[in-house]
Amino acid sequence: MPSSSFASRAEVQSVYQAHHQWLRGVLQRKLGNACDAADLAHDTFERLIRANVREPLLEPRAYLRTIATRLLIGRARRAALEAAYAETLALQPSAVEPSVEARALIIEALTQICELLDTLPMTSRRIFLMAQIDGLSYAEIGERLGLTPNAVQKSLARALVHCYAAVYG
């Protein structure tokens, strides 16, 4: 059996023993809630396990803190999207309530698109959504936003460049 996988486990184990209490403490001070802190600490270590680290971490605490931060930001984003989604659904005339599972997949997908559009100015974001998702013509979009079709086209191109950068760094 793979010996490196054993090494990885040993590494995770030693990181866990040395820093688990500390991480819980940091998170509890931040979140003000022991349960959430314990939960988030668990998820952080689960991520660490999945990362399948092969070599000793040089700065384990910085690494753990960064994973925890990402998880925290992701949760906040997801929670807000979930609320927005529920609101939108409620406003639909003939809303079909999706299953819990379908809902989770939808929120996950929307969260990723939301990340893609992050930091894009509001107008560009609306143009991107109307063009790429609603499928409106430049003339229709321009009419709603008070812009010429040409300006809409240019703005969409800039939004696409932004998205490219978000995916390809």
Partner: protein, 333 residues
């Protein structure tokens, strides 16, 4: 929760593209969306063919817009775009959290070296998580089964069909291609060419690979250009690695059991058994040194690893200790 591979880079191995080319491609994309006059299309085709980077940039934009469309399909476009318009609210809250965490100080120091590899696996075309198995049929009719914790890239072109195993284990039943394109599977340890076959390949890590042939035959070639192929016949398995090592033998019983959702152990040391079982459950699963050498015999269902752990307590003198949800150690009773 794990991320769906929704917005992943297209052909990341091709590297970065000049930002000027990206802007041009985006301009073309926005322009062709509405103006499809023949003259405009000709100019575009001319631009696209002028440089491979142009083609690549165009492909990446195609993939990106396709991924976005796929991402909103389930929610429905109008619900999706309305929901996403609420996003500024999320941003402000997010910023607040960011500020909060920044107060603790987030160190983005030097991380472990495994990271780059992990990113590559996360962006694979096909991927399974811990405990997840997946089967699918490719456009040419080839069937692929991914075992837990596996990652695979697909590179089908007009000339060839190539799969790249990045991690884990796959089973392949090749189909005859109507276009007559050759089929290869690229791995860390060598390149495999099947001859009308059903075979399994597993990345054992540390550069070692194992191929098990159930039907037909597979030719294994090392990564060096002058390496001669070695044939593995049905009923045989072989371990090989990039440094040219090659050792074949009879097919191990139970090698293909995972295809049926089973783990078969025949006098398997407990430590190896738990390593295997660990592929199908999240978290840490290990045993004490005293228990490591115990031998496991039996057939176990992969779908319920908790049950397997309970079974272990019945068939071996061991006790399963759970420290946390993700932390299980098997020791002597």
């Amino acid at each position: 929760m794990d991320h769906l591979p929704l917005l992943r880079p297209h052909a990341p191995e091709a590297g970065a593209i000049d930002p000027k080319v990206i802007r041009q491609a985006a301009d073309w994309w926005a322009r062709l969306r509405e103006d499809a006059s023949a003259a405009e299309r000709d100019r575009f085709e001319h631009w696209r063919r002028a440089d491979p980077a142009h083609e690549l940039a165009w492909q990446r934009f195609s993939a990106l817009t396709r991924d976005v469309a796929a991402g909103v399909a389930q929610a429905g476009p109008s619900v999706a775009s309305r929901t996403l318009l609420q996003a500024p609210l999320i941003r402000s809250r997010r910023t607040a959290i960011r500020a909060m965490v920044a107060a603790v100080g987030v160190g983005l120091g030097a991380w472990a070296v495994g990271e780059r590899d992990a990113v590559r696996r996360l962006s694979a075309d096909l991927r399974t998580g811990t405990g997840e198995r997946r089967s699918l049929t490719l456009p040419d009719g080839t069937r692929v089964e991914l075992n837990a914790g596996s990652a695979l890239d697909l590179r089908y072109t007009a000339e060839r069909r190539e799969l790249v195993l990045l991690q884990g284990e796959i089973g392949i039943v090749t189909a005859r291609d109507t276009l007559g394109r050759p089929f290869t599977l690229r791995t860390r340890g060598g390149v495999l060419t099947p001859v009308g076959t059903h075979f399994l390949v597993r990345d054992l890590e540390a550069g070692r690979m194992r191929v098990a042939v159930l039907e037909g035959a597979v030719d294994v070639r090392g990564l060096a250009p002058d390496d001669a192929p070695r044939r593995v016949q049905a009923g045989e398995q072989a371990e090989f690695s990039a440094n040219g090592a090659f050792q074949s033998g009879p097919l191990a019983p139970g090698a293909s059991a995972w295809l049926q959702g089973m783990l078969i152990a025949d006098e398997m040391p407990l430590s190896d058994f738990l390593d295997e079982l660990g592929r199908y459950r999240p978290g840490l699963l290990n045993c004490t040194a005293e228990a490591a050498g115990l031998r496991v015999v039996g057939a176990f269902p992969l779908s319920d690893t908790d049950r397997v752990l309970a079974m272990l307590q019945e068939i071996l003198p061991v006790r399963v200790r759970r420290y946390t949800r993700y932390w299980v150690t098997v020791g002597l009773a």
